[in-house]
Amino acid sequence: MKQNKLYFIFSKLHISIKKKKNPKGWFLFNSQPNYIYVEDFQKRRAETIVLEKLKWKKARRRSRRRPGPACAVTAIREGPLSKDLKPYSRECFYEVFEEEIHQVIVENQLFKPGERVAIGASGGKDSTVLAYVLSELNRRHNYGLDLFLLSVDEGITGYRDDSLETVKRNEIQYGLPLKIVSYKDLYGWTMDEIVKMIGLKNNCTFCGVFRRQALDRGAALLKVDKVATGHNADDIAETVLLNILRGDIARLSRCTSIVTGEDGPIPRCKPFKYTYEKEIVMYAYFKRLDYFSTECIYSPNAYRGFAREFIKDLERIRPRAILDIIQSGEDFRISTFTKMPEQGTCERCGYISSQKWCKACVLLEGLNRGLPKLGIGRSRGPNNDRKKGTKETNGAKSIESKQCGTLDF
């Protein structure tokens, strides 16, 4: 018993050391009642670390005209922000937010020291906050990373040209070198030209497929080891729902991984996988980060809009539902009878592909030949012989128009 007591006292004094050695063990030893109960272990750990840090600091009382609810960490009444429906003061909110991202990076071993990492920057809220937080954490915790900004210009006037100005400002504000790759240079088509040709439906298919390849090409030009994107929890939950709604089993099994494309040219990671979109916006607002906030002009016709509406309605009733959908997506097990596409390489460009030609080559061929529907439309993959929805004319038989399974990341 005495030993336990002594250990408990020592554990209190050596908290900072213990935390580095064996975080899980440290947490078990400290069963003090003033730790806040949170469902998720990660969030719990982030909060307890912040609480301990603040105990050793002096917290100043700031008087406000109307104090709000007490901050969950310091119990001081300071116009707070909410995270997971719990109140936090502004400083605690920043700390818990950054600490959570740090925990996600460390636990999933997203980066190694000395790596060159490109941040996919569109000028929007997620990529701006990602660039800010990553450079901050890189400095604070000595990740030893070389960070770059990588931006893709799809050629959408009124949308992309404005957001590129924002990225150029970010380059100066955060001191990160910027590289822009454009569809016109890579494929010879801008999105505006593509939409003129194919109409307002299925634009996102072209844009998404081309963008993924463009990011890879840009990353190869920069000679980086990894690409980090700003996909947040809401995005991933929407993707899980979308893949269920479309019956896309191959993508469903991959879309929740925090690192994707490890066997491909350049792996991609999503440090914001467990961060709500709401937290990111609040963080950006209070830190006065500069971002561009307009919807792509072609997006009202996107299928993802329905999944997004649904997720937002769910969030209103129970915010936790978003992380739970991601959890369900991670736990899906595909039945052994389902045949999955196999990975190979594209014959035309050498990119990874599960069909003879990769999706981008199929789409590009369709555009160049004036067959806009080539590569669009459902066929059920190797399992089923049904081929419907594709308007093929003679000469197109050599092109596989089955749904390409490996082009998402």
């Binding site: 109307r66 116009g79 707070p80 909410s82 569109s122 929007g124 997620d126 979109e277 916006v281 307009t294």
Partner: protein
């Protein structure tokens, strides 16, 4: 009652691209205090010039729009039942755009 309303995240496009509005809101007849619900109705009638479905859905804001009252999330102070006082700052930020 004097209030300052701010619109962000693309919502300013619904109010003639003006981000900050200093407004004088009259309370409903017979009401003792101004609550958010009344303010939303007032904004809907007086400030939103186009596409009101981007801002409101039914009685409340569209899901995906953050509301901050004096830099405090309205969900912590009662959401629609939040009482407003003189010189309060209410911020509406939309999160529904690409990142």
């Amino acid at each position: 009652m004097q209030l300052t309303l701010e619109f962000g995240g693309g919502l300013e496009l619904l109010c003639d691209s003006v981000k900050v509005h200093n407004v004088n809101v009259d309370m409903a007849k017979g009401a003792e205090k101004l609550i958010m619900k009344d303010l939303l109705g007032w904004v809907h009638t007086n400030l939103i010039k186009e596409r009101p479905e981007m801002f409101m859905k039914g009685d409340t804001v569209r899901p995906g729009v953050l509301v901050l009252v004096n830099d405090c999330d309205w969900e912590l102070s009662g959401q629609l039942d939040t009482t407003l006082e003189e010189k309060d700052v209410v911020v509406f930020i939309s999160t529904l755009h690409g990142g």
